[in-house]
């Protein structure tokens, strides 16, 4: 094994669960005959959802399922940063530190995560609950700063709301995703500023 972000501690085998085998079959069926290799990313994602990360054995298994050379799967899995090549905690906290988030205080968010979890970027808490990562722009700049935890985005954060969020997760709660200041979607923070008056009727 080589390359960054991998681990030498690899499981010997991988198999999809019965339920996921069905899902995998459905995914492969979406692609025309002879183009099964197109299913490589959804299948790697499925493997990651099952195991929490993508192991060598999982990549080899996907390669075999799709009739691809294993190296072609390794190439895909190592190219995309969203495939985890080593185990991550139950909650994978990905803090965006790109420019818009940074301007809006992502340094504070990152610091809050470190304080609350007691770990730095790229590390996992000893209880295996949290992994903290620094990521590039996740495309939610309008509600910066933000973090992604699992499949959910948590936006409009400040150090306090970040700590609250992590505490809630630790307690097994499921905090509401989206803006943490309560605004609707990406609407202006203080409520609507345009189109507030009733439009004048035509001819009046």
């Amino acid at each position: 094994m080589s390359g960054p972000g991998t681990t030498a501690d690899q499981p010997a085998n991988f198999a999809f669960s019965a339920e996921n085998v069905e899902r995998a079959r459905a995914i492969i069926a979406k692609y025309p005959d002879g183009r099964q290799a197109s299913a490589v990313m959804p299948l790697l994602d499925l493997a990651q959802r099952q195991e929490g990360w993508v192991s060598r054995a999982a990549m080899d298994h996907v390669a075999e399922m799709l009739g691809m050379a294993p190296i072609r799967v390794y190439e895909v899995a190592t190219f995309y940063t969203m495939f985890q090549l080593k185990p991550v905690g139950k909650h994978h906290v990905q803090v965006c530190t790109n420019l818009p988030c940074w301007l809006r205080g992502s340094d504070g968010v990152a610091m809050a995560c470190r304080d609350e979890l007691g770990i730095g970027f790229g590390e996992t808490t000893p209880d295996g609950m949290f992994t903290l990562s620094e990521v590039e722009c996740l495309g939610a700049c309008v509600n910066a700063p933000m973090v992604q935890i699992g499949d959910d985005y948590y936006e409009d954060l400040d150090p306090d709301s970040t700590k609250r969020l992590l505490k809630a997760l630790r307690n097994g709660e499921k905090p509401k995703a989206g803006s943490q200041t309560g605004r609707q979607g990406s609407a202006p923070a203080g409520g609507p500023t345009t189109l507030v008056d009733v439009p004048a009727k035509q001819g009046e």
């Binding site: 094994m1 080589s2 060598r56 050379a69 190296i71 072609r72 390794y74 190439e75 190592t78 190219f79």
Partner: protein, 687 residues
């Protein structure tokens, strides 16, 4: 056909051609790293940028098809600036270690940096460093030098058909490698050394031994398989330092198998450099006179019928014709060049040639392999079959060993009776062959070198005839030889004369004592134990099986040490050239035979290479033309008979060691330990 203007010259080229190719037709050289004419286009090095009018940016000429009315500039200030920019980026992470780099002197990056590089860099940060990979005993890696052209990945995937290399990670973290630690298991892996435009992949056995400019380069022919790949032998002093392929589109394109490329260290080891005579049961060094005298004394008064001669796999045509003439002069009809016992028929030339020709494979539209494993028997030829297969509509089936050939084929079984079934249209694959316009079959030595070989040959001929493989302008009947000497030997008629014995007969005779003297011309693959009490004369270049058994050893020259003729499996006569002199007392083989003939009182009537070649020409017109293939006439051959039930197996168990040279090679021994003994785990991190 689109018309375009390149540097003010109007040119018309076929549609679909790229700008780079159009430039080449005008003789304008475009710098490039990733583009290679025998690989798919990647377009990732950006060195080939040109200016196209009305295009806002410079264009990568290797990947841009020409269009009508294009106006291209290849030397404008914009092009110059763009290429200099690309070069500066490439050099950011490329180490400045040319003085200790094996690629130095033949490095594309070095050459092109002369044209487009600056004498200093503006990049003051740390350079990126990449861990080296372990690709096995043949390829040395220095991955920090890699510029990510991906030529090696494309070659291994497309041409070699062993997809083990890839680019993992991305951006700054991108690395070319196998990801999991393993040696490249392709028989053609050495070619990525030639393809690598920088010093990231270099030859491990050649590492730090010589600089390219101090080598004497000799164009020659490879003899370690029967394909006759065109090679260049690089030598310094008395040693062959490396072997590289030469371009010949009709034979090996520009590839070379690992055995042919790396077995050269075997030329330095186990060499016979002086004559030996067995005295008191031990071989002892002797002078040429003593050796000849010992032979003359033993041959004195022996009836010709009690003398026999066998020509080996690496024998050249000059020495074989001399051997034939000498044997005839001694009155012996017992001569054979088929030391593996293959039931080849020397009377019909089409019966033992690869009639389709190697380049002709690309025209074929169906293929039946019989008792052959082309990947191990002729690796470069196998790449040609794969190339044809990749083009599509090329059904392949095999009656023979079930092995990975790097392309998909239908395995019909390994029983000889399948040949009869197909010939009699009782097998579904007969329909495929009959439906094809240009079907072909390849008959391997695994099918012929067996007791029922003649019957197999007849069955294959019948199959070829009934399935429409032989017709006007097309001959799909092919024999794939393993030995470089075989076709030449058959052309020269080195087969038993009237009442003569073949190899099996000679061995049986020697065992019983009917054959008293056996002359081995480089023949090492026969069962030496069966030579009984016979007096054995071994002429050859390596101390292999034959020399160990011999009573007199006459040292000869290896293929890099003589100007000699070899006929490849297609029937193409080609010449090796002297790159280094034979070691010590060793001499060119035909001269040894000529000198011996004088000592025996049967002086052969030729004193120069020209005269030997005239004699060869008198025996066969094949030698009138070099580097050319003449179509052979079809005829009846083979002997009808019952086919044995024994399955076809390939005679090659170990691709890396098939002849005295590769058996003496340390590099090939390492490959054998790794790939044939099959212990991949012992590489890399395991030490």
């Amino acid at each position: 056909m689109p018309k375009l203007t390149i540097d003010g010259i109007e040119v018309e080229v076929p549609a679909g051609v790229t700008i780079l190719q159009a430039c080449e037709t005008l003789g304008i050289e475009i710098p490039r790293f990733c583009y290679h004419e025998r690989l798919q286009i990647a377009g990732n090095c950006r060195m080939c940028l040109v200016e196209v009018e009305k295009s806002p940016k410079p264009v990568a000429s290797c990947a841009m098809p020409v269009a009508d009315g294009m106006v291209v500039h290849t030397g404008s200030p914009m092009v110059e600036k763009a290429r200099k920019g690309v070069m500066e980026f490439l050099l950011i992470n490329h180490p400045l270690d040319c003085p200790i780099c094996d690629q130095g002197g033949e490095c594309d990056l070095q050459d092109q940096a002369i044209g487009y590089g600056f004498d200093r860099g503006r990049f003051s940060e740390n350079k990126r460093a990449v861990k080296d990979k372990n690709f096995g005993p043949l390829i040395k890696t220095y991955m920090t030098r890699c510029i990510h052209c991906t030529r090696c990945i494309r070659f291994i995937t497309e041409v070699a058909g062993v997809p083990e290399l890839g680019a993992t990670g991305r951006g700054e973290n991108m690395e070319v490698g196998t990801y999991v630690e393993k040696a490249l298991s392709s028989e053609l892996s050495g070619n990525i050394i030639d393809l690598c435009p920088v010093g990231a992949l270099t030859s491990k056995p050649f590492a730090f031994t010589a600089r390219p400019w101090e080598l004497r380069k000799t164009e020659s022919i490879d003899v370690l398989d029967a394909l006759g790949s065109n090679i260049r032998v690089d030598a310094r002093g008395a040693a062959v330092m490396r072997v590289l392929p030469r371009i010949n589109d009709d034979v090996n394109e520009e590839w070379l198998s690992d055995k042919s490329r790396f077995a050269y260290d075997g030329l330095q080891r186990q060499r016979l450099d002086t004559p030996y005579v067995r005295r008191d049961g031990r071989l002892q060094p002797a002078s040429w006179q003593d050796a000849f005298a010992a032979i003359a004394a033993r041959l004195n008064g022996v009836d010709g019928k009690r003398i026999a001669a066998i020509a080996g796999d690496l024998a050249d045509c000059e020495s074989m014709v001399a051997l034939k003439d000498l044997t005839a002069a001694l009155g012996s009809p017992n001569i054979d060049c088929r030391q593996d016992g293959a039931k080849l028929d020397a009377s019909v030339r089409a019966s033992y040639l690869f009639n389709t020709t190697v380049a002709g494979i690309e025209e074929a539209d169906a293929l039946l392999l019989i008792g052959t494993d082309p990947r191990r028997e002729a690796a470069v030829l196998n790449a040609r079959i794969r190339k044809r297969w990749l083009n599509g509509r090329f059904p392949i089936a095999s009656v023979g060993p079930k092995v990975d050939l790097t392309y998909r084929y239908e395995w019909l079984g390994d029983e000889p009776r399948l040949l009869t079934d197909i010939a009699e249209a009782k097998h579904p694959f007969a329909e495929v062959l009959k439906g094809a316009q240009k079907p072909m079959l390849i008959l391997g030595m695994g099918a012929l070198a067996r007791p029922d070989g003649a019957a197999v040959l007849a069955a294959a001929r019948r199959l070829a005839e009934t399935c429409g493989m032989v017709k006007d302008g097309w001959n799909g009947f092919n024999v794939l030889h393993l030995a470089a000497a075989r076709v030449g030997g058959l052309d020269l008629g080195l087969v038993p004369g009237k009442g003569g014995r073949d190899v099996a007969g000679i061995l049986a005779g020697a065992e019983k004592g009917d054959i008293e003297v056996v002359y081995l011309l480089g023949a090492d693959e026969i069962d030496m134990d069966r030579l009984g009490k016979a007096f054995v004369i071994y002429q050859g270049h390596h101390g292999d099986a034959g020399a160990h058994r011999a009573d007199v050893v006459l040292p000869g020259a290896a293929y890099t040490e003589k100007n000699a003729t070899y006929v490849n499996t297609e029937g193409r006569a080609q010449e090796t050239r002297l790159a280094v002199f034979p070691p010590g007392e060793a001499r060119e083989d035909w001269k040894v035979l000529r000198a011996l003939s004088e000592a025996l009182g049967h002086r052969l009537p030729y004193d120069s290479l020209r005269e030997v070649r005239e004699r060869m020409l008198a025996v066969s017109r094949v030698f009138a033309h070099r580097d050319a293939v003449a179509a052979a006439e079809w005829g009846a051959f083979g002997t009808d008979g019952a086919l044995d039930n024994a399955p076809f197996v390939s005679p090659i168990e170990n691709f890396y060691m098939t002849d005295p040279i590769s058996r003496a090679s340390k590099t090939m021994a390492e490959c054998t330990a790794l790939f044939v003994a099959g212990n991949q785990r012992k590489t890399g991190t395991h030490g």
